[in-house]
């Protein structure tokens, strides 16, 4: 079922049904996008729920200029950045080694190098995490990233450059 058909179901008054179709269609991609930024499943779940509740509230005003997934991706990115900002003190007060946590996580399939990479990403500030994820994993053009984050392309390029170099150094340091 494509976006147009889902929106037609929504317009016909079957709003909850249409919304559940959106969750089933895009839920997994959205979850993985958020999970790359939060690393933990519990935090990703919180962000998913917040994102979807916001999307439900904003859906009556959705004009369909962009695809549903692009729209959800934007909400999820900003929601996750805000979540990470709010919770950065929690990490500071009770730091849990993300690599150790991931080793015991059944939804993490990575090897030691990937665990080290996640550990390095977890050390980035919230917005740099989002920028690194969008560029490194999604290979997203800066123009699109600028629309999503509301930041200039030049600032995003600088941010990614810093994040990339820091992550690279940290990953190497884990193995030294």
């Amino acid at each position: 079922m494509d976006d147009k058909q889902i929106l037609e179901i929504y317009s016909s008054g079957q709003t909850r049904q249409a919304f559940n179709l959106i969750i089933r269609k895009y839920g997994e991609r959205l979850y993985l996008h958020i999970r790359h930024m939060t690393a933990s499943h519990e935090d990703a779940d919180d962000c998913m729920q917040n994102t979807l509740v916001k999307a439900w509230e904003a859906l009556p005003g959705f004009r369909g200029d962009a695809g549903i997934y692009t729209w959800l991706y934007r909400i999820a990115t900003n929601e996750t950045i805000n979540f990470l900002r709010k919770n950065k003190w929690r990490e500071f007060l009770s730091p849990i080694d993300i690599a150790t946590r991931l080793e015991n996580d059944p939804s993490f399939n990575g090897d030691k190098l990937q665990a080290a990479l996640q550990r390095a990403i977890a050390k980035l500030p919230p917005k740099q995490k989002a920028v690194f994820k969008m560029r490194y994993y999604d290979d997203m053009p800066y123009e699109q990233m600028a629309k999503i984050t509301g930041t200039s392309e030049s600032a995003l390029k600088a941010s990614y450059h810093f994040a990339y170099n820091k992550v690279k150094d940290w990953v190497l340091n884990f193995f030294e």
Binding site: Q49, L52, V53, S107, F108, L113, Q114, Y137, K168, V171
Partner: protein, 144 residues
């Protein structure tokens, strides 16, 4: 040595394996998510509705309170005037009870009015002073 280390650094992050997602979504997560999000949406809609209705309900209660207080005050001050049964109306008409607050305290005046009523002799005395005996006899004949 330094160049070799730099190459290693670059290779690490550019490895295709490292760019693959190491995460997967837990089994049955979407179904649980659908349920929890649905519950949150319903809860927020309910609280949204009550937030809309709350001022209206408060307004109705305030109006009812003001109305109740006003009615109570009026009832208390108007209690003496509440003789609206048929029996009471009849008694008022017959003069056995007083119809209002003023009448209730106007008994002396009524008694004076009653004592001031003219009797037959006084009328004759008055008329005899004003009219001749012929005119009085004509009037008496008309009355008879």
């Amino acid at each position: 040595m330094s160049n070799n280390r730099m190459t290693n650094k670059q290779n690490i992050l550019e490895s295709p394996k490292l760019k693959e997602s190491p995460f997967r979504m837990p089994e049955g997560y979407l179904e649980a998510l659908e349920a929890s999000v649905g519950e949150r949406i319903s809860k927020e809609e309910r609280s949204g509705l009550s937030a809309v209705l709350r001022p209206a309900i408060a307004l109705v209660f305030t109006f009812a309170l003001i109305f109740g207080m006003g009615y109570g005050v009026l009832s208390l001050t108007d209690t003496l005037n509440k003789h609206d049964s048929k029996e009471d109306i009849l008694l008022v008409e017959q003069g056995w009870i007083k119809s209002n607050f003023v009448d209730h305290f106007d008994m002396d005046e009524d008694e004076e009015a009653e004592t001031d009523s003219l009797d037959e002799e006084e009328i004759i005395d008055y008329l005899s002073g004003q009219l001749s005996i012929v005119e009085i006899s004509e009037l008496y004949a008309q009355v008879q």
